[in-house]
Symmetry: C2
């Protein structure tokens, strides 16, 4: 089913999200889908569509740069990301606005909300977990340098799941160790799965177009397996 454009304000920008509803009406849990760093594209929108169609949850694919802008120029992307992570209050404002927007939709059970995200979107999902009562936060080939994690891991109520390529150059072992150390010290319920021989962007078939197979590469088994793990955790927390 086609998604519905949904406009909301966040961090001074007009966000154009894409809302997807299950075929069956009535209250359903909600899932926020935060996109890759480039911005909201068919990749995250397709995931929201599947979450609605296959799993029966209301899913909001979230805009990142306003007016659904794409930042595909790496020279511009770095500073834009740096500005956002350098001011955690801006990042929080953005993810909280997405959460409140989804919660306010008809047919969404406001007590059962989770967030997933891809690449920087995973970082966003985890950041939201540090400042809200979402049931779960799930990151795919996710950045693990979550701005408020060191300060606020103890506030996390949701369950955390990180799904990572074992050879992702952007998420080296020491970064994984620091992330899980902070979660463990705070007593958070967390899981991390590593996929052998897999790098960044493994859920996105378009990743191969970048021509950087050592860094960005689609991986069909890891894509399927990570989806299955996500669905299992959503089923668990929404049960």
């Amino acid at each position: 089913m086609a998604g519905q454009d949904l406009r909301y304000q966040a961090d001074g920008l007009t966000m154009v999200g894409s809302l997807h509803r299950p075929a069956k009406g009535g209250p359903a849990p909600g899932v926020l889908v935060f996109p890759e760093a480039f911005g909201l594209s068919a990749h995250a929108i397709g995931k929201a569509e599947r979450i609605a169609g296959e799993l029966g949850y209301v899913a909001l694919a979230c805009d990142l740069w306003g007016e659904r802008k794409q930042l595909t120029d790496m020279a511009a992307l770095g500073p834009a990301l740096g500005a956002l992570t350098g001011e955690p209050s801006r990042l929080r404002a953005q993810v909280r606005a997405a959460l409140e927007t989804l919660r306010a939709q008809d047919g969404v059970d406001a007590t059962r909300i989770a967030a997933i995200g891809f690449c920087f979107g995973g970082t966003m999902a985890f950041e939201l977990a540090t400042c809200s009562d979402i049931s779960a936060a799930i990151g795919f080939h996710s950045g693990l340098q979550v701005p408020s994690l060191a300060a606020d891991a103890g506030r996390i109520k949701g369950k955390i799941l990180a799904l990572l390529g074992a050879d992702d150059p952007g998420v080296p072992p020491e970064m994984r160790t620091e992330f899980t150390r902070l979660l463990s010290e705070a007593g958070v319920d967390w899981q991390m799965t590593l996929y052998g021989g897999v790098v960044h962007s493994f859920t996105n078939p378009d990743a191969d177009k970048a021509g950087q197979p050592g860094f960005l590469r689609y991986d069909a088994p890891a894509d399927r397996r990570s989806w299955t793990q996500m669905a299992a955790l959503l089923g668990e927390v929404f049960a």
Copy 2:
């Protein structure tokens, strides 16, 4: 459904396994279940029963010390394990005998066999993967010092899944790193999941009786989640 005692010879011992069949007849994939180091007990037999009853595969819970002997005396267990891992040919003889026994059973699809194991049984499942064509090997709170892995990782055809407590004192980070390094260098399809705040024996409710909660402790969420991941991989390789 009650299991059927199944005797077979391996490494000079008479093994008394427990064979469990799905209710539905006809050829089905087979799953070997290797027990914890103490030997075959209700824990592994119960897992085999569930694999047959819930997943529809023929499952053989394997004996370890012959005549279903239990080695609960830690002073005796260490040397017995050392003797087995010190001579990989003995370990291989034992796991291969279990494989051939299961393959020879009526109603088992000999082309679709996987092995799972708990604690040292996980090591056994991985060892079998280095010297057979099993479809998958799955270890729960598994030892990762697999005797033939350094030499024969390149012979592994099956998919590898290790399900571990992140705080398991018996499986420290450097052991995980070495295990995955060998698998990656050999191009093996592997996955590893870590469960935060979880130690050894998390699938076994009896673990708590040992009174060593920092080392041996049941964990209900990790037990359920690891079972789900096992079922997903078995479904994938048997599809």
